[in-house]
């Protein structure tokens, strides 16, 4: 019932985070305009544990991937089947990730709270603001996470590392709707 001290007070984890950030330092920056190299392909990243949001997009769609908010979804309410063709959002999943243990940072959109106010089910999304007045993320850029232990959310603006086993489902519906689900084993606050 009281905010527990986050795990980052533990020096071992602080050291691990330092090492991880240190490992990403590039020796010389490439010239401006060079296209960014492809991030580590899905299965290999999953073996490494930590993945990035780009890994959730399958190879076929990666070339067309655009970071940033998608356009408005004015016609969604009509529910007509033609909508999927108009929809630039990507509904496909990266099936190579299915069943792997991964670790991914993101923001939390709470769905279910337990009696003590801890979040037990939530969406993990790549940017804050996927809540009320801002366009939603693409379906394959959000994970439905279940965390029975419950997380006391310090702030909706806080980012968290979530680790657990990811599973992929593709539900067939008129609009096509993909889903990543994660059974979370650990949630820690994200520190730069």
């Amino acid at each position: 019932m009281h905010r527990p001290r986050t795990a980052l007070c533990c020096p071992a984890l602080a050291l691990a985070t330092l090492l991880a950030t240190g490992a990403h330092a590039a020796p010389t920056p490439p010239p401006v305009g060079t296209p960014a190299p492809h991030p580590v392909a899905g299965a290999e990243a999953a073996k490494a544990g930590t993945i990035s949001w780009e890994d959730l997009v399958p190879d076929a769609a990666r070339a067309a991937y655009r970071a940033g908010p998608p356009p408005a979804v004015h016609d969604y309410l009509s529910g007509e089947s033609g909508l999927a063709a108009q929809q630039p959002q990507d509904f496909s999943v990266n099936a190579t990730l299915d069943g792997h243990s991964i670790r991914l940072p993101g923001f939390i959109v709470p769905l279910e709270l337990d009696a003590e106010g801890r979040v037990t089910e939530f969406f993990l999304v790549p940017y804050y603001g996927a809540c009320i007045h801002v366009p939603p993320p693409a379906p394959n850029q959000m994970l439905f996470v279940s965390y029975p232990k419950g997380l006391t959310l310090a702030s909706m603006y806080a980012a968290y590392w979530v680790s657990g086993r990811i599973s992929t489902h593709t539900r067939q519906s008129k609009l096509g709707s993909a889903a990543y689900a994660l059974a979370a084993t650990g949630v820690e606050e994200y520190r730069y």
Binding site: M1, A72, V73, L77, G79, V109, E112, C131, I132, M142
Partner: protein
Amino acid sequence: MRALAGLASRSLWNRRGTAALSVFSIAVSVALLLGVLHLRDDARRSFASTVSGADLVVGSRSSPVSLLLYTVFRIGDATGPVSMEIVERVARHPDVAWVLPLSLGDSHRGYRVLGTVPGYFEHWHYGRGHRLEFARGGPFADLYDAVIGAEVAERLGYRLGDPIVLAHGLGEVSFATHADKPFRIAGILARTGTPVDRTVHVSLEGLEAMHVDWHSGAPPPPGARTTAEDARRADLAPSRVTAFVVGMRSRGAVFMMQRALEDYRGEPLTAVIPGVALTELWQLLGAAEGALLAIAACVVVAGLLGMLSAILTSLGERRREMAILRSVGARPTDVFLLLVLEAGLLALAGAILGVGLMYGARAAAGPWLERRFGVAMELGGLTPYDLALLAGVVLAALLAGAWPARLAYRRALIDGLSIRL
């Protein structure tokens, strides 16, 4: 040590008037601290477990917290109506599993009346996916059936089949009632510990029937009223509701539905994910909680300082007492320990009395708090954290008592048996 403790308690009893004041001030501060902590936990439990399994709550445009408060907690007022047209549109959508329209605006003796569909009793979950259960009876079958929550039944003493007259407006008393169209209690829900207990549920058509002749917003004159039986034959399809709750078939589409509803040009709507709005409510309350706890902690410190000043001022009068003790063989350290123990005993007595005060206040204020703010009080025992706090208060008193104890110790050394007053 036992002898000293006995001595300390007898010495305190001798000064019981002033000692009682110190005990009482500590008791009040402890009661305040524990009361705030328990209230916070009660509030958290009441709010967090109120609704579950609902993907979106949609109402007329307002702040998300305010929308959640008037639909789920039945506190506050709606900002405007929602047309049935959008409710039906959403209900027909392939990604939507179920929709529960909600209509508010009437009351019965201070309890809110909620007009809804029979599906409410199936889809409205609370806590960890608990369904609503009937203690007696069942959902509405007839037009004028009502289903009441556990607290309404208990407090007003209603049983199945009793008539119930609903009033217009949300106050505890209304001067515009629907006495010509009494409802009949068809079901009583089992206790949930949520605002459902304080609600009277009727069908949407029943609400329409009540208002079928209220064209000008007030009851018509006696000659022009439609009887309850005639109202059955009128067209009772509702055109507007206050809000609606959506359960999605595919969870991943909740953001798209939310965004589409918020962008809907037909009418101004707000769609909230209940978990998000609840968390926002928490964060609003969290600041208030923190402030209350800080104040309570300061009050405890003030109580201890009061006790300390009482002991210090009494030292002057007790020099003869100390001298007598020394003369019968007490060492200076015994004098020191005596005073520390006194402080500890005062704090212990204050802590115990404080716990009693806290429970008394909660038992007295509990029903009112539940009625007014929706916070259900659970009179449980003291948690380990509470016990640790109480131990902390006693320890702080012991440490604070070291100051007058040291003064008395030094004076005991200096004075000897002759005291120069």
